[in-house]
Subunit: 542 residues, 2 copies
């Protein structure tokens, strides 16, 4: 279970998800049961085992149905929640690491029993397709949680519990007994986003919990249900072990009366995990607390030489279309030199490359079996409106506008297909902004060096989580990697087939580097664990 140990000892690794990502790997009856469980929640209060609230609120809307799902959650004021967290901290911090491991890993196994309910909960809050909802919110989130637990176990054992230390002073020895303790920082706040309510929040939640901190989860008010399943099962497992159920709490709020800043500014809240936009993220980072942020960024595609343009264009089209560009890892700007790109034996003009990409998008969207499941639905109207306003501002640059897509299962689904702008490198005012949603820009650069220079500048200034590059010249690959790595952006080279830049696998891929404006933390490096507690060494002379 220990990532660094595993990959240190193997230069070749087979990847087996601990929780299988294929729904078909689970007993056949579970899907129907999950759907039934999901439907049974409609228009009810979601109560946890320790709820004693008088007020319940909720405002989730299904992007597939475009109606509210009517689920409400117990509402408490911020002070009550923080005081609960502060009180249970005094018990949880003293709980043996072995028991913390047991509670947390058991909670994942409990969640596993609800993977299909989780999938529907995710689908009908985020707009992800069924398959992505299943994988991202269930198995992949649980794998990330296990990775965090394993990494924490390694870090928390960096020093021995006790050691006898002897120093020779010539005529005599001085012996001191010493101990080393990892003292957790206290109450932790996890602020979630509306698109990946579990995958993005679970690593921070489990990292805080395994290191002895208590956690308040403040989800996006439009995407509560998926993370409520985790909270539910954690509370049950805590209770089963006679531990306070307020070690984990849900802080429900509404769009009209948000709680995030009230909680974040509370003196007892020592750490904040945050996923979301820049404005709020910058505010969080400015609080002088321990923070772990994932904010926005612009992901680039650098296109300069290829083996086969068709498979490359298909790869780009799929990455841009997947969940309608609402993934933090989705590519936005595709840099193509004005003088075209090299193939193994010829050259393609800029227009040929551009047309190949647009045709690949059209082909994907025109495929009735592929389009709807790839695009999913748009999580909220603001995203659709933002894309429309960009198109209204730059009508002369649009070379592919929304294509009609029918979702046979959900006729009211909020769907928007991939839009393509084509711009010149000089038009930075158009493309050097993040357009969250289904819009990509094909940028005509003066030459391949300018492509890399702009992608680098953009990552440094606007942030970037990923960079996808197509290049079959080894020296140029080194150059691209070095330039993009120098602004702390990882590069994925020559992805075709089943490899997509959007995917960051647990146990292998570091998600967000923490080194550019897209965020200050990384799933899961040592800092992601170690910043949640303080090492203390005590000394004894007896």
């Amino acid at each position: 279970m220990n990532l660094p140990e595993l990959i240190k000892s193997n230069s070749e690794r087979k990847y087996f998800a601990v929780y299988p990502e294929n729904p078909k790997a689970y007993p056949e009856n579970l899907q129907a049961e999950g759907l039934a469980a999901f439907q049974a929640r409609f228009n009810t209060n979601y109560t946890f085992i320790d709820d004693n609230a008088s007020n319940f609120i909720g405002e989730e809307v299904s992007p597939y149905l475009q109606t509210g799902i009517g689920i409400k959650y117990a509402q408490f004021d911020a002070n009550t929640i923080v005081n609960n967290a502060s009180n249970s901290f005094n018990i949880w911090k003293k709980t043996d690491l072995d028991l913390r491991i047991k509670v947390l890993t058991n909670s994942l196994d409990r969640v596993k029993e609800r993977f299909f309910e989780m999938a529907y909960a995710t689908m009908h809050t985020t707009g992800q397709s069924f398959l992505m909802s299943f994988q991202a919110s269930g198995p992949h989130a649980c794998d990330r949680a296990l990775e965090v637990i394993a990494s924490a176990v390694e870090q928390l054992n960096a020093y021995p519990h006790k050691v006898a230390w002897t120093k020779n002073f010539g005529k005599f020895d001085l012996t001191l007994n010493k101990n080393y303790k990892a003292i957790p920082k206290g109450v932790s706040l996890a602020i979630g986003c509306s698109t990946f309510p579990t995958w993005n929040s679970i690593p921070g939640i489990y990292a805080s919990l395994i290191t002895g901190n208590t956690v308040i989860v403040k989800p996006h008010p439009k995407a509560v249900y998926p993370i409520a399943i985790f909270i539910d099962e954690l509370k049950k497992e805590l209770k089963a072990n006679n531990l306070p159920t307020t070690v984990i709490q849900l802080a429900i709020d509404s769009s009209e009366n948000p709680l995030a800043k009230i909680l974040a500014e509370n003196d007892k809240v020592k750490m904040i995990d945050y996923t979301g936009g820049n404005l709020m993220g910058d505010y969080i980072e400015g609080l002088h607390k321990t923070t772990f942020t994932e904010k926005s960024g612009i992901n680039s595609v650098i296109l300069e030489s290829v083996k086969n343009i068709d498979s490359v264009a298909q790869n780009i089209a799929f990455s841009a279309a997947l969940y309608s560009g609402q993934m933090c890892t989705a590519p936005q700007n595709i840099y193509v030199p004005a003088d075209g790109i090299d193939t193994e034996d010829s050259k393609l003009t800029f227009d040929e490359v551009k047309d190949k990409i647009i045709d690949a998008v059209k082909g994907l969207i025109a495929n009735p079996k592929a389009a709807a499941p790839t695009l999913g639905a748009i999580q909220n109207d603001a995203t659709s409106k933002r894309i429309e306003s960009v198109k209204a501002n730059f009508p002369q640059h649009i070379q592919l506008s929304d294509l009609q897509v029918v979702n046979a299962e959900f006729e009211n689904a909020r769907i928007k297909s991939v839009n393509v702008l084509v711009v010149n490198a000089s038009e930075e005012n158009i493309y050097l902004k993040e357009y969250f949603g289904p819009l990509i820009c094909i940028v005509k650069t003066e030459n391949r060096d300018q492509s890399v220079a702009i992608a680098k500048k953009s990552a440094e200034k606007n942030g970037a989580i990923t960079c996808l590059a197509f290049c079959i010249n080894l020296d140029r690959m080194d150059f691209i990697e070095e330039e993009m790595n120098s602004v702390y952006t990882p590069v994925s080279f020559n992805f075709t087939g089943a490899a997509f830049v959007n995917q960051h696998a647990a146990w292998s891929d570091l998600h967000v580097s923490g080194g550019n404006p897209s965020g200050n933390a990384s799933f899961t490096n040592a800092n992601f664990i170690n910043n949640r507690y303080i090492w203390i060494g005590n000394r004894y002379m007896l």
Copy 2:
């Protein structure tokens, strides 16, 4: 050389300094040669191998002679220095880790040849005694540097350089090649203090260098010479390996025209190591850069039960007198319950305990062999004046004022012996402030629980690097440890004989926890290394 590995594998550890701390362990001629080398520097320019400056400045004053020593250093403007560091970063970051290890460890061995010159340089800038000057600036600083190098080698090997990753998709396998790279953050600034110019700065300097960053050293203008020796030898070793000598640079400034803020605010400076007062330290932490600070704090002594009050009183007296209380680890406030303390078979009244401590201080200061070498000299007049103004403000609380001490070797030495105030716990306005220098407060508390409560509150609010506790009841020891650890302050229990709370040994003691206002970093935990670079994982499909 690897701390975590060593102490993980051994529950019993013998401590051998890599660089012996006893001057007698070195060839006999070295002390005289070191003194001669030191004296030869008087009233000269200290030039490095790469100096091409036209202007030299310096303002160091010997606390033993109370005259300037006349050594001047090449002055450059901030932009020149930062640009040099930025340019050499592009080479140093690409230098193999093995070569970086070689350069850095060789530089320590070069410095070892100058340990005696270093001792005199430290003595006549900081006012430390000869023995402390020798140990702290030479062997102990080099041990801390080696500890940092070893720890970095461990951290930098947390991931393999390359790995082949295979994921099964049912009908086929997808294989990606992945690499993991530690990308350094860039130009690092080390701001030094006037009392421990090498011991406090060397860990951060070597931690930045070993992880591939270049370093600008901005020492206190009154304590340049000791760190100049390190810079000198690093430059020589860099040159010997055909590497740019500006990987390490001295930024000399003056009290009238300080450079620290100008350098710290430069956009190209990405990291700052800082030792010094709170005002500047809080400013540094507020810059939104990566910072490693050691600021001020108030260290407590909790006295509640003892085996032998005489050895305890002697231990406290020595810790308070050592280098005239100018160590960041020196105790200031001694909490004694109004109803006295327990011994194994009887009880001591508050007054008996207080008198024992005062008598122990008097005894130490009255001992002509011990007094001068223990006290050393006061680094600067401001410290003496500060202590005098405290005494002038609270004359009725003074129970021991400066005793006359003669330094036979240096009749002009700036000496100040230990002052003792006795106060009630309610008089927080007197004792809950840091008095840097030779002044301790014996605080009469209502009871032993109040002692712990005040020490805890003080650590949380004012910061604390250490806490010394005397307690022979195991349950109370647990209680004290838990309470002080909860505010991220380590406790040293029942130190007598050769064990002093002031000492933090490399390879075993974490110096500053990073969890309270005394500083945000720790020598040497994983964060002290890992915060200096960013892990990046690239992926290839070929």
